[in-house]
Amino acid sequence: MNDGFRLHPEQASEIAASVDALYFFQVGVTVFFTVLIFVLIWTFALKYGRARKADRILPPHEFWATELIWAIVPFAIVMIMFGWSAVIFVRGSQTPPNAITIDVIGKQWMWRIYHPEGKREINTLHVPVGQPVRLRMISDDVIHSFYIPAFRAKMDVLPGRHTFMSFTATKPGEYHLFCAEYCGTQHSFMRGRIVVMEPGVFADWIRGSTDEPPEVAGKQLFEQFRCNNCHHNNPGARCPPLGGIYGTTVALQDGTTVTADESYLRESILNPAAHIVAGYKNEMPLYLGQLGEEDVLQLIAYIKTLPSPDATPRSEAENSKP
């Protein structure tokens, strides 16, 4: 990582080079105007030094034309910066459809990473080169910020709400991972590594995982917290069936609809009163404060594995789980 003097960090993501190009354009503008002002000040200071003879026939105190020029020129320059940056920013915040989603949970003072294949990591994130990656991030406590300088990418990790960050790594290697938002005593120790691997190597690495998939723990939690007391699929249940719910469109009591993605399921578990499913009552207990973000992640993983009620008779749904 450390190879002598440099002006920018390694360029290891798709947008890194374009961010640097814009940055160096701005450095150019800065140097130009700083030098211009510097030179003007010193020329005037010397040429019009108070003891010096010089042509001092006074121009007017004010020129509309000059004022206009030094308003318009900066305006034009900043608009170039704005447009240029908008293009990069919008592109960087879009997620390619073939992106894989990796979950990240920030917690004072470590990063927990959950790969979709079930592999777990702490303070290290392995990603394959060339593969678009989307991070779905949430914090268990205070605000953190997931920062990878080599990717020119950063996103705050908030408690209570998912934030997302996308990138495509372009260069195998090891890079810094920093927490960039001050988060308490050990803030500066909340750092780790990003390991970018060739796709084949990555595939082997992830396949070699012996970690227990999150739905196993999820099933335990589902029973431990008595979710199955209500969410069994017996006819006449007072609760909506959860099998097959993931990805479907849910009609809510207030007449709106939502897509049942991770963020919705998370909110429905922790704070059920936020969205009441049409046809049901607000009877589900509040789990806010009882379940940590990791628990929720595991519960969702488990809910995703529940078969949809159309496919299997409801009463069997519960028992047919692995």
């Binding site: 961010v19 121009p59 080599a150 020119r152 209570g160």
Partner: protein, 544 residues
């Protein structure tokens, strides 16, 4: 000319009383300015001491001098003290207090007692912050981000926040006082566009103070509600929204940057005009650009939140609006520079500070554009790049302006001259020390070093060593004026009423001024800065 030697008036505002009571219960704006000057100088060195300690710590990548908890408390103390107890009051409460009435030919501010109340509130706030430090300190950063500050931190957040809250009221009252004074107490003939730019700058600043400060006060109050009573406002675990705090906080704290720098811009305008012996080029544009900065400043707070999870559209809108601040800032810089053209330039100490201000503010402003540029900000947000940028504005800008102004008006305030050679020497030293401290931080910031880091990867060490070296020079450069200013009180040569041969009503008052400021209310017949070709006319009209 107004330079003929006026012996110091027998009964001036300084000789009006020597007892502690005559100071602590004074309602003279000039004495209150001195009260502020002494207090903020103390706070400045407290904040500076904290900086010395953490700069020493940062010499090495490991945490070896202090533990993380202490480190975090040090940068928090530095931020809170420097911002709330030094930069915000520095120019307005010291120079503004002293000069606003003098410059507009008034006897005092509109509400002299409220002015004294402002100082007491300020001191109460300061005392709370100091108290919070003595009983263990605070570790939230000056930004008090929730839910860390409201739920998780187990340091003295309440005390420090209360301190910041109380000083807020002090600046609201000061702003109110200035606005009413400028509206109602201008000398006959002093029309709006004849006002010195110092007054325009303070007027714009006062607007921000009274419109913005209540919002941050509310934000801090809500933090206290959540922390003290467990009412869920910001912590999602209690049903709150952590980003709400950031919106409220930056709605004030971005404009607060202008509270810190606009008054210094006013100072610089006065100095440049005097030491170029010319009217400020584009006077009306410089005046209006202060107002434009104050107004636009209220619509750009979202540039602190580009990576906070706010929407892409909000990011673009705030990026666009933030870019616009560049225009009034550029207008100012170009007009100041143009003022020197065909002038009689005198590189005195105040002028060196003013020119330093222009250079460093130019760099601070231009690097601000990097941060307004969303795509770049995503990378540099919360890194040392930001730290460098705002120190260029707040130390390179505000503090240089304050020091320049202090030298410029020192003869007026104290009736004594400071030693010119030492003045120039320390001005140059400040400039070099400053650049050595903060320039490397741009580089290390772009390389990715996050701010508020107690320990850091080895490859960043060299830049931190440079910074620390620069900071030691800067520390010395700040001590020198402290010493010679105190020295000059007794040994400095007596100052005439107008040692710089400057224009402006304050120079018509004696040095130091009498308690009533003027023997008779001055009548204004010229525009501001009647230097050079207006010389003849000036003599006739200003010396009636």
């Amino acid at each position: 000319m107004t330079t003929e030697l006026l012996a110091p008036p027998e009964r001036n505002y300084l000789s009006a009383g020597y007892t502690a009571r005559s100071w602590l219960l004074t309602v003279d704006h000039k004495r209150i300015a001195i009260l502020y000057m002494v207090s903020i100088t103390l706070f400045f060195f407290v904040g500076g001491a904290a900086a010395v300690l953490f700069r020493l710590e940062l010499m090495t990548p490991e945490g070896d001098l202090v533990i993380s908890e202490t480190y975090n408390k040090l940068f928090t103390l530095h931020g809170i003290v420097m911002i709330f107890l030094f930069l915000i009051p520095a120019v307005p409460a010291v120079l503004g207090n002293f000069l606003v009435p003098l410059m507009i030919g008034a006897r005092d501010l509109a509400f002299p007692r409220i002015n004294l109340l402002s100082w007491y509130l300020f001191m109460l706030g300061g005392a709370l912050v100091m108290w919070s430090t003595f009983v263990g300190g605070v570790d939230t950063g000056w930004t008090f981000y929730t839910p860390y500050s409201s739920t998780y931190a187990n340091t003295n957040v309440m005390l420090a926040a209360l301190g910041a809250f109380v000083t807020g009221f002090s600046s609201i009252l000061t702003g109110l006082n200035f606005i009413v004074t400028v509206h109602t107490m201008r000398a006959p003939g002093l029309r709006w566009f004849r006002l010195p730019l110092f007054i325009w700058a303070h007027y714009a600043t006062s607007l921000i103070m009274i419109l913005g400060t209540p919002v941050v006060a509310a934000a801090i109050f809500l933090v206290a509600l959540e922390r003290g009573l467990g009412i869920g406002i910001f912590d999602p675990k209690l049903g709150g929204d952590p980003l709400l705090f950031q919106h409220l906080f930056w709605f004030y704290s971005h404009p607060a940057v202008y509270i810190m720098v606009l008054p210094s811009m006013g100072v610089v305008s006065e100095i440049i005009a005097c030491f170029s012996r010319k009217r400020i080029f584009g006077y009306r544009f410089v005046a209006m650009s202060s107002m434009a900065i104050a107004v636009i400043g209220f619509f750009v707070w979202g540039h602190h939140m580009f990576v906070s999870g706010q929407s892409v559209y909000a990011g673009l809108v705030f990026s666009f609006l933030s870019m616009l601040v560049a225009i009034p800032s550029a207008i100012k810089v170009f007009n100041w520079t143009a003022t020197m053209h065909k002038g009689h330039v005198w590189l005195s100490t105040p002028m060196l500070y003013a020119l330093g201000f222009i250079g460093l503010f130019t760099m601070g402003g231009l690097t601000g554009l990097f941060l307004a540029t969303v795509a770049v900000d995503v990378h540099v947000h919360d890194t040392y790049f930001v730290v460098a940028h705002f120190h260029y504005i707040m130390v390179g800008g505000s503090v240089m302006g304050y020091l320049g102004g202090l030298h410029f008006w020192w003869p007026k305030i104290t009736g004594r001259m400071y030693p010119e050679w030492w003045g120039r020497f320390s001005a140059v030293l400040v400039f070099f020390g400053f650049n050595l401290t903060f320039f490397p931080q741009f580089v290390v910031g772009y390389l990715g070093m996050p701010r508020r880091y107690h320990t850091y990867p080895e490859e960043f060490q060299i830049y931190n060593v440079m910074s620390t070296a620069g900071a030691s020079i800067l520390g010395v450069a700040y001590l020198i004026p402290l010493i010679y200013f105190i020295w000059s009180l007794k040994y400095g040569p007596r100052a005439t009423a107008n040692p710089w041969d400057a224009r402006g009503l304050e120079w018509e008052a004696a040095s130091p001024p009498i308690t009533q400021n003027f023997e008779t209310t001055p009548i204004v017949t010229t525009d501001a800065y009647p230097y050079a070709e207006d010389e003849q006319r000036t003599e006739e009209t200003l010396l009636v």
